[in-house]
Subunit: 377 residues, 4 copies
Amino acid sequence: MLGNTFGRAFACTTFGESHGGGVGVVIDGCPAGIKIDLAKVQTALARRRPGQSEFTSPRDEADLVECLSGLDRGVSLGTPIALLVRNKDIKPEHYADLTQTYRPSHADYTYEAKYGVRAASGGGRASARETIGRVAAGAIAEQVMATLCPTIEVVAWVDRVKDIAATSVDMTSVTRALVDADPLRCPDAKARKAMAELIRKTRDAGDSVGGVIAGVVRGCPPGIGEPVFDKLEAELARAMMSLPASKGFEVGLGFAATELFGSEHNDAFTIRKGRVRTVTNRSGGIQGGISNGEDIWFRVAFKPVATIFKAQDSVAKISATKSARGKSAAPSLKRVKMQPAKGRHDPCVLPRAVPMVEAMALLTICEHLLRNAIYRR
Amino acid sequence: MLGNTFGRAFACTTFGESHGGGVGVVIDGCPAGIKIDLAKVQTALARRRPGQSEFTSPRDEADLVECLSGLDRGVSLGTPIALLVRNKDIKPEHYADLTQTYRPSHADYTYEAKYGVRAASGGGRASARETIGRVAAGAIAEQVMATLCPTIEVVAWVDRVKDIAATSVDMTSVTRALVDADPLRCPDAKARKAMAELIRKTRDAGDSVGGVIAGVVRGCPPGIGEPVFDKLEAELARAMMSLPASKGFEVGLGFAATELFGSEHNDAFTIRKGRVRTVTNRSGGIQGGISNGEDIWFRVAFKPVATIFKAQDSVAKISATKSARGKSAAPSLKRVKMQPAKGRHDPCVLPRAVPMVEAMALLTICEHLLRNAIYRR
Amino acid sequence: MLGNTFGRAFACTTFGESHGGGVGVVIDGCPAGIKIDLAKVQTALARRRPGQSEFTSPRDEADLVECLSGLDRGVSLGTPIALLVRNKDIKPEHYADLTQTYRPSHADYTYEAKYGVRAASGGGRASARETIGRVAAGAIAEQVMATLCPTIEVVAWVDRVKDIAATSVDMTSVTRALVDADPLRCPDAKARKAMAELIRKTRDAGDSVGGVIAGVVRGCPPGIGEPVFDKLEAELARAMMSLPASKGFEVGLGFAATELFGSEHNDAFTIRKGRVRTVTNRSGGIQGGISNGEDIWFRVAFKPVATIFKAQDSVAKISATKSARGKSAAPSLKRVKMQPAKGRHDPCVLPRAVPMVEAMALLTICEHLLRNAIYRR
Amino acid sequence: MLGNTFGRAFACTTFGESHGGGVGVVIDGCPAGIKIDLAKVQTALARRRPGQSEFTSPRDEADLVECLSGLDRGVSLGTPIALLVRNKDIKPEHYADLTQTYRPSHADYTYEAKYGVRAASGGGRASARETIGRVAAGAIAEQVMATLCPTIEVVAWVDRVKDIAATSVDMTSVTRALVDADPLRCPDAKARKAMAELIRKTRDAGDSVGGVIAGVVRGCPPGIGEPVFDKLEAELARAMMSLPASKGFEVGLGFAATELFGSEHNDAFTIRKGRVRTVTNRSGGIQGGISNGEDIWFRVAFKPVATIFKAQDSVAKISATKSARGKSAAPSLKRVKMQPAKGRHDPCVLPRAVPMVEAMALLTICEHLLRNAIYRR
């Protein structure tokens, strides 16, 4: 229960399936008196939209956001901010043959195992379309922080596609503008070229690739994050691992840290401009679950997209389950050869995952910035 | 706020610093009528205790657990189960010279940045001693699940120490007994020998090493986990990344998944014994945030221990902060050469981290098993 | 924070001001596979709508509900159910002269004290229009319970208007149909006639009256409610006292219980149809915070409506506060004589409060029915 | 689930049965750097202890509080504060004959209906002993507020015993010292005398009486409380109605407000010392769920104690339920004549309820004072 809410101080509840009236978010806990520009929310949504380039699915979704509540003449009221994006009319018959077949590595089977029913068409709640609410809320969080703590900035980028890694990105200075200069959202020109070629080939082969998104939070003051279970790295891990297709998370040197001796990994303290700083930043800006004022940097692994244009072995139900609870007998199962996917689908979600990762980082930092207000006055 | 509670259905609130009256946990939400054997809690605590072998700090802490409430003649009442482990008398003067110096890559500085005050001695709340409450709660969770869903079993082991990796462990069959057969808790005899040698050398050099813990949840029924923000992998990630010294988490193939094509990574469905199963299990038993009935397997990265027996550059306060809030001026800072640590400290926490990882997995699965009860009847 | 969510298992987050895009609710935690008829939601909303009779404000609000998510072909998916009711176009200039004056016993001043800003027009979030989300969610909860525990029924009615009390209502048998047979919603014909006369006179005098709503939950199984802080009576009290204009709550004999001796108040146990029952029901069906299987009956006090058609002393700001936070100087204040309210307003909210009280009782019982699923299997 | 936690910002989780190791509370969210004097906690516990006077049960419980964590040299660390009060050795055989009989208007039957098991002796979790954790936490909250908002003061007193009402108490000035000047805790000398006589007579007759506690929060700044579901009056209602034996709650004029016209009930605004104030305070210091800076005053109804020294009709189980879940058949029931209670029991809990009511008010106001920190900076 309550798996659809992120945050306790800046609590974002998303709603909506890929098909139905729409998707959106209700934000409870936005401080009052903050200037909120809905155009910035629209810009953020445009960055996650499919069809931005040859690498992303051209399904046309205008994704116009409407604010239903919580703002008055561009200023937050302290009341819930409800944001709605309508779904386009879709043709459920395109999905008709999927309602009985479990697509490999999709959530079809697990949703049905959990709920006994699932949406008749598309990915339902497991669709990437669910992230619209997150991205919209992230764009509100960013404006809240621009007022409360203007030093904070969050940037993410494509760090690796399959085995092609960016090597020249300087995380202390990379900007969102630089990232967005190319639709691939990898600010390493050489790697980007190789990535583009790989994605084209993969698409032509009807296959898909995954990769890694890197992100950084700069300008976060020391003291943010809660000890023990709500450590800042734990909250970021949960945030990122809740994104569709994510399979791994690391902060600072992460898994690479395990290959160093303690004397190689420790970040010595020093003094700069009268403040406590670290000489190195292998910890990723967090110690004991609390920010130390250095850059918070992390990486998120995304598996290759499950939808591919190749035949796959799968299982289908022979008889339908009745939608009413508990009445119908368990369906019979049969092995099937699932036909290649139809329509257009992203061969690589990485470019579109960049704004999603940024949104989750923004929501996490905003949440803990607000929580922190309780302790220090 | 509320950073000390894990779970909403099986809510565990831990308390206690390394020094003070004691550490413990209050579990709210344990179902009534479950047979609980406190001896099993004591056994779990013994596994995380320092001084079990030459590789772990010999600080003697008996860690006897007392149950204050919630049980009656060995059966849970449905009321909060409070468990307490007393701290031994400690001599705060051992830590006297640390109260003004920020130990590199410890939480001294960040706690002070957050709270303005910190415990006078030892690691306070950031000490690994805090995990006693988690391990005790995990041992209760395991007994709850033994009643509610006896197929579930959780096993973790040392998978890598620095660059020495176990290669022969079969996660589908490895048992806790096998893991515990050696104090290093790595069930790969060859790797274990090399690890032991490395840890000895590291200890002799006054240094420390980290590594990777692997874990598996077997026998988890399909349908466990909540979509969107409380996906099972997100909850596991948060659980593991909340452990002291953890820096990374991955589920299934994790970061390695990003190097495969979708056609290589997808887990085809098949039918075994009349049930939907997957042919491979690269996803790690979770799809769309919900368990699919296959083994849930994951890895956690632990950095090398921050306490080392070498001199380090650091920063100390010249004047003490006053403990009352907000009155005193900010302390002056000075650069210092911190002397090597005294006493005995683990050169490698990995063996002791095994029961902690198991505890967090048990708490996560138990939480979601209980949450799931709401949906299906 | 999070003051806009009711419930943890059946979590209803309402949103929306009296003016703006609309009002609504997101329900997270509705079990899957439940048949949900939106027409029943519409019917519930019609019962709370103004303009149903001569006693309620004729402001025309069609209040058509739209379901944005969570249902598929009339069956709940287990995902958030988002319900939206659009606001009609309103003319903010009608409220222009109120933006600087604090209406006595309204929330104008306190909202501004809390948030520094408030909605430019109407009651904003404090408007009774906010209850639309509650009533809509209550109508979903009622359908959930109709599936999970069909014995449960909730009925509320007007028990008193000012000093005119209903005396002939049998709470063990009164039905919603009987209550709705007259727009005053008092199923005591004699009292109703006197109430109607009093309300007419009050309206003609430009004044307002309050009263008491009585409610009963019948058919609730024993064992519902959580000990200590979430006792069923505490949860009902919070639910009812969160309704606009409520000032008191009592369960069972309530305040009257304090005038009895223990020997007069205790409910002796007996056996009926093989089940433990009580001979009397002075406790109101709850003991130790948990339902005992008898009728749960309670009363809620509603103050007279604050909006009256008489001049009142009040205070107004001379200079406007700037909407951006913290920048502007505190406004100067002046005493003012506030002119009588314009337009049409209810002289008595009691009839419209009946479905609100029912909704809050439905949400409370549904919440605890679902929570209980965790403990007993 | 989670029914044992009060508050989200200042979250107090109580634990403990009347018999077993002890009772206590863990407070998560106490701000750091607050001076905390444990002697004040001990004083508060002494006020709720039985055996303070001839009117309260002389059961000897020293109730010495121990702080297990969260404080260092008298200053809060920002970490959980765990407080423990040991139970005295008790003789379960005194309760042996009660384990099969459901005491009328006690929680024996409902706990068993909910959990299937219940504590073998005494009231278990439903015992008034559970309130020790509340009173201890309230004493911490009071010290937190003494630092953060020193104007706030909370006083409660016995307002009525059965039908004998205090009439001369001035809630704008009454002090805790005045209340405590007499063990009956009613600061109206004349009423007090009559109350004492009634309680003596009641005790001699083996019966019990209830009554009403009045309380006031003075010096609360405007802006405290959250709109909609967490309105300050709703939170107070929940807090008070969660106390054992409470049956009703009202704020301001409460039920009496329903007998006034709006023109009689509205609180006109005025200006005093440059601040917005109300001329009257019929609303009880809260409008729209948010404090307006006036005194918050309220009343709580307590039923007569259920334990009486008279024979009563009841029901007993013939065969015991097995403690393991679900295995045993439902027990047979028989009607029994329950013998009069043995030992000493309070004939009137009102004097001891005074510190409990104060504790719940303190916890509620502290919670919302901390929550409010998020919105205004």
